[in-house]
Symmetry: C2
Subunit: 407 residues, 2 copies
């Protein structure tokens, strides 16, 4: 049996242990929800203060030039690029994942005008399916949704674009990005990866895989803050032909010429639309400092160790909860999901004890492990509290069973 002392020993030999100092973490909290909202990096508050008080307050409109606001979407994109195996010129930060999916799915259908199928995964994050359905209906196309394990085999010559999450938000199941991409390319289909649950925690190599398009989240493992802008990736080979429908002035070749006709900017900049939320984007920029000098391979190694440990401790100590994430770490992102009929109330009871995970319908307890700030003792303590909540029937308390607006 694993002990807390064993976990402490793992922390002492953890090469990423010092990275925790790059985050502000409230005392007494075990935070296993960095897959929903990453913790606050210490570099952020001062940067945001500077943007508000000096750049906005004092420099005012001049900051678009003098403080680099204009280039921020590309500059932050350049910093995200190495985390996902992209060239710097292939990533831009803008809008939300939902909005960016609309752009990229439409662009994909335009790049494959002879094909009418958007292939998606059933049970993927809802917004991905909603936007796919909307884009399909606008183009007389069709959404074909298949199970996680059937995705690769479902790619055929009718598929214009395969649009799927690299890591499932609900189960943590991870696709073999290179294999699915290769299969799509072999069939002449494009592939659009949603990296919301992998960017920053799983080494992603879009370039080596030959992926065409991707979107990703700024506020989960990149720690950019609540509602941080999303990023999108367009492979360099598509930059000339890429044609997206949200043709705002920030995507124009010469935005300040104020020309009446839209001419897309060269490269990934044409994926930009309106004026970006500078405060939120500056926070994301500062947050990326937390990755300075950190090899993603070390992040992944610790992520696997943390998730393996959590699953093992649940097996050992929590017979009432079933691990529903893949057991094989090669097929799993950085989260472990458990199943229990009273999942909602159990999650609330854990939060009351300071162990923050989240609930997903219908019966999932979801725990994300951000290796930059989650310790091995946190894993132990989380399971310890879970045992206590179940043994003491704490979850039966009425206050834990009342649904909040955001679950």
């Amino acid at each position: 049996m694993t002990t807390r002392r064993d976990c402490s020993a793992l922390d002492r030999s953890d090469v990423l242990a010092q990275a925790r100092d790059r985050f502000v973490l409230p005392p007494g909290i075990v935070y296993l929800d960095g897959n929903s909202l990453g913790a606050l990096p210490v570099s952020v508050p001062e940067r945001v203060r500077d943007v508000v008080e000096r750049q906005w307050g004092t420099d005012l409109i001049r900051s678009w030039n003098t403080n680099g606001w204009w280039d921020l979407p590309r500059r932050v994109g350049d910093r995200i690029a190495p985390l996902v195996g992209a060239a710097p010129s292939e990533v831009i930060v803008c809008d939300s994942i939902s909005v960016n999916l609309f752009k990229l799915l439409t662009a994909a259908l335009r790049l494959r005008p002879d094909r009418r199928v958007i292939l998606t995964e059933a049970g993927d994050f809802p917004t991905d399916g909603y936007v796919a359905a909307s884009v399909a209906s606008l183009h007389g196309a069709e959404v074909r949704a298949v199970g996680h394990d059937d995705l690769s085999d479902a790619i055929d010559g009718s598929v214009a674009v395969v649009a799927a999450s690299h890591v499932s938000y609900r189960t943590g199941a991870m696709h073999d990005l290179a294999a699915v991409t290769a299969r799509a390319r072999g069939a002449g289909a494009l592939v659009l990866w949603d990296l919301a649950h992998s960017a920053g925690v799983v080494p992603v190599d879009l370039g080596a895989a030959g992926a065409d398009l991707a979107v990703g989240c700024g506020y989960k493992y990149l720690n950019g803050g609540p509602g941080a802008p999303a990023f999108l990736f367009v492979a360099g080979s598509l930059h000339e032909a890429f044609d997206q429908p949200l043709t705002g002035w920030h995507g124009h070749a010469r935005p300040f010429a104020m020309e009446p006709a839209y001419e897309p900017a060269p490269g990934v900049s044409r994926a930009a639309t309106g004026t970006p939320p500078v405060l939120s984007m500056a926070a994301l920029d500062a947050a990326l400092d937390a990755f300075d000098g950190i090899p993603l391979e070390a992040v992944r190694a610790k992520s696997v160790a943390l998730t393996d440990l959590f699953a093992r401790l649940v097996d050992e100590r929590v017979p009432g909860c079933a691990v529903v994430s893949p057991r094989d770490a090669r097929r799993r992102g950085s989260q472990v999901c458990l199943s229990h009929p009273e999942a909602y109330a159990i999650v609330q009871a854990l939060i009351a004890r300071g162990v923050i995970g989240d609930f997903r319908e219908p019966s999932i307890l979801r725990f994300g492990f951000a290796p930059l700030y989650v310790r091995f003792v946190d894993v132990w303590d989380a399971v310890d509290h879970l045992v206590a909540v179940l043994e003491g029937d704490e979850w039966r308390r009425p206050e834990h069973r009342t649904r909040a607006a955001v679950t």
Copy 2:
């Protein structure tokens, strides 16, 4: 001839004089670019600090419930509603104007499936035209662009939606919102107003006019900070039928049910798409405190007085510059534009002297007057510096003639 002493007297009798204390303004600066980026309200820095350090840093994911992040788009919309004559439930804050135009123009075409014309104004802000062209091409519709003065007469039975700026970004010319709306309704067309250059500075009464749709800017006269999220308005009468294409999960009737099929939320909430940038939206929320207790009629009266004064002083003292904004204040927003062949260099020379306006192609000097913080002596000083720049040939200096990325 008007004197600086006359202007000081106007400031002493200004009922809005105290409102200037609600803003942080750098010493020595005359800021006439609040129509591009509003000045920093004093209420913002502390609010943003709280959102970053306490809400994000300490309360973490729980803030979606406990600190009201989830309702922020609607709550801030409720605060903007009275500034534009809307009911609280008719306004939501989300995305950028460009993205929101795409939503509303598409929705408009769906509401008028038998009509195929988007009627716009030639010379309107470029993004409005670019997005209209994109939406038209997706729907087999057509954009018809006419001159400012021809807009109303061009509305006929083929027009699905009239999409125009209430106040022109380039000239400050203002439409009679009620008259154009009435004309559109009479012809069975919808109307979509872009309030970027009027919300917060001109009393707008969307409700009384019977307007259908509108978008507006958070970072100009609402002072929400660089790239603050935009707002959109959908008249209550359209809430049932309104169908927009950016079907993200935040617009779903039950977002956390994570259902596979999209079911739009009731009311204006269905116009939401992805996760909003909370830091930027919280700044906008705090910025709106600057309007507390301020009647928009007083704002408008001062705006007219400021712009009339500026135009008169230019006439009196700057023979080389022509006023290109309407002389009749009833047809003008809160800006005065001048024309000069060397407009770019003159604007740069003024900025070097601490008078901040901006340049618009091809030969426009643009000055915006935000009555909450611009004084009558600022108007005098701005014209005084303009005289000096022109008489001393300062604008001929090479450093003033080099184009920056953002003009």
